[in-house]
Symmetry: C4
Subunit: 231 residues, 4 copies
Amino acid sequence: MRVEAETPDVAWERRTEIPLFYLSLVFLGGYAVHVLAHAHTLWRDIATIVVGLTWLCFVVDYVVRLVLSRQRPLRFVRRHWLDTVIVILPTLRALRMVKVHDAVMAKRRDRPHRSLYPRVITYAGLTSLLLGFSGSLGLFDAERRDPQSPIQSFGDSLWCVIQTLTTVGYGDVAPVTVPGRLVATALMMFGLGLLGTVTGSFSSWLIQIFRQDDEEGPPEDGSSFGGPSVA
Amino acid sequence: MRVEAETPDVAWERRTEIPLFYLSLVFLGGYAVHVLAHAHTLWRDIATIVVGLTWLCFVVDYVVRLVLSRQRPLRFVRRHWLDTVIVILPTLRALRMVKVHDAVMAKRRDRPHRSLYPRVITYAGLTSLLLGFSGSLGLFDAERRDPQSPIQSFGDSLWCVIQTLTTVGYGDVAPVTVPGRLVATALMMFGLGLLGTVTGSFSSWLIQIFRQDDEEGPPEDGSSFGGPSVA
Amino acid sequence: MRVEAETPDVAWERRTEIPLFYLSLVFLGGYAVHVLAHAHTLWRDIATIVVGLTWLCFVVDYVVRLVLSRQRPLRFVRRHWLDTVIVILPTLRALRMVKVHDAVMAKRRDRPHRSLYPRVITYAGLTSLLLGFSGSLGLFDAERRDPQSPIQSFGDSLWCVIQTLTTVGYGDVAPVTVPGRLVATALMMFGLGLLGTVTGSFSSWLIQIFRQDDEEGPPEDGSSFGGPSVA
Amino acid sequence: MRVEAETPDVAWERRTEIPLFYLSLVFLGGYAVHVLAHAHTLWRDIATIVVGLTWLCFVVDYVVRLVLSRQRPLRFVRRHWLDTVIVILPTLRALRMVKVHDAVMAKRRDRPHRSLYPRVITYAGLTSLLLGFSGSLGLFDAERRDPQSPIQSFGDSLWCVIQTLTTVGYGDVAPVTVPGRLVATALMMFGLGLLGTVTGSFSSWLIQIFRQDDEEGPPEDGSSFGGPSVA
């Protein structure tokens, strides 16, 4: 994990890190405008071009890294499968910043990482939010073309995605088109694991706090719910 | 965690602990009257004033503690984020009593804490109950104004909240207004973690009991389900 | 946990163990006849009397044990809270046999207990089954009196209970009466923990099998899925 | 677990391993044709015969192994209960290949197994997929005969199975016939444990990655999300 004599692919990744992060925000913004400003032809066309161009950048970055790595393509794809997912779903790229930010913070303040579980909760929670927002856009895009669909506004789509990711599934708004159901299925596949991580980490964290109280005695400094003791 | 020379903020918290606990019960009661006695104008107005006054007390307490802590506001908010949540949702304040009660009990009887998992289950279960009751009030308050909403009584609202917190989600009663859906979303966010904790702790506890039986041999004193052996 | 000089309450429990087990089966059978043979007045009346008499036996047993234990009532109730639940819901009594059977088996064959997780799965799974069957009877009993309820047969009630315990909750059949919703809520409260235990133990068991394979090398004796290696 | 002097039953299993794997694919394909080409009488009849013949092969294999093992039938069934399940649901047989493939890969490349959690996720995920596909076929087969059923195409059936396995349960398409509800119940029983395993392993894996980062310092080689470090 140490950086010794920097190889070309490592140098490339270090330099493209920040630009690609901003590009992923541009991508998500462009897609949001493309979907939500559907009625306004000019805006929609501009947004479509922006989305296309940024996507192209991610594909170029992926190909450059594939070439620089000097690995066989299949091996590269298998070892970097999460990067491959990012090429297909570039909004996830924005999440890399969580880790980078975390590392920068740790260095600057010269103090150890925050406790494990809050970091996992933050990370998985933010990914869920990004996934949910992107999924709502995709679901709305797919469903509004069908006049029989109960999803006729972005709010309905968001409400459906929240129901899906939490597995509550009231069913008052559920996708009826094939692309809409594919988006919902993808959300279940990716989202359930992430949300399970949030729930499980929260549970482990609470049990950890209770266990620490057993060893240290009950808190008497008014730090309700053990808040500061895990900060 | 020891109290040495008591600083002003610690002294403040120790003294306000009990009054603020009773105040949080007054707040919840006032809000319940405000929502459930909606038709009776006099009671509703009294309840609205009570809710407003108690909320003010919590805000004052928060500001006093912020000043006494001599920390920068942002840092204080981040280190005491659970206290910040309590200011926004004061009914959660009542839960601090669970821990205080627990500690008092442990001291008085001069015996160790109860087993870890039953305590976590009690704590998370009680929080879920309080959250569910407050959420039902809020949901009913938001939904009854819409004549198309299937939630037209407090019973319906309670039934919807139970479905939501357990993720069963039949969907026979589901919120249709934007504020109602926001309340339901908040319940999912906060409630799923808490209920996951209850379920996970129950599971861990049962496995622990079975493991203890393996080591000690099967119980022969009629303590069905290993009940007393974990008390 | 050793039986030394047998105290009266231990002797009582040892002697009532087997009769009370059969009595709990009689109770469940009587309740099932009471609910399912509702149209046939004679059978229903006989079943009602059987249920009442067996319930009385459980109450007598509880009182006798309370007296024999020479503990204060409140302390007895708290230390034997699962027995208290059994008095209210006597069908759960049948579950004690799982442990007794397990212990008998272990002694007879002079071999150690079965692996931890399969036993937990068996135990929690059987409890879920009993709980689900009793709950279906109670739900059917509550809902059929309302002509607007979608639950008009025992099959519908069973289908609703299965949906509830697994948290799938399609909502095609959902309780509409207050007693029916109370039964469903009780099923969620008790059932989710039990089913979470089954799911969690299955998960832990599978991971344990994979971990054992890592240490021992892949199985070459055709024991598919590591079945026998955990027996 | 070592193969010393190969007993007849071990030799039988080693030789039938590969043919039975292909036979299980034939079985699944035959059943799919039987269900999906329902309107085409010739294809359906051919498929029915193929399904019957392959099933017969699995029954013969099971009986031969029972005889060769020289165990009492009841003991054999209990020790090989997963094989018994496979005889009833032969498509699960295909899953044995995951382990065999895994072992072959480990030997060929002369390197240790892949990390525990990704393997568990792959294994449980593939089983879920197979189970879901088989279940969709069975559900479609059961429901299409009822004109009142909302499941009138294989796509509807697949959508219903996805909702069921993830416990989302919108309820827009839910089985109404008794055989369809039995298939859905079986999917819940078998599927929830498997999917819980996928979710739980993903969660444990993510926490493991974060913990490793704590020990090794933040990654600086651009391996986003710690992907390669767990490969």
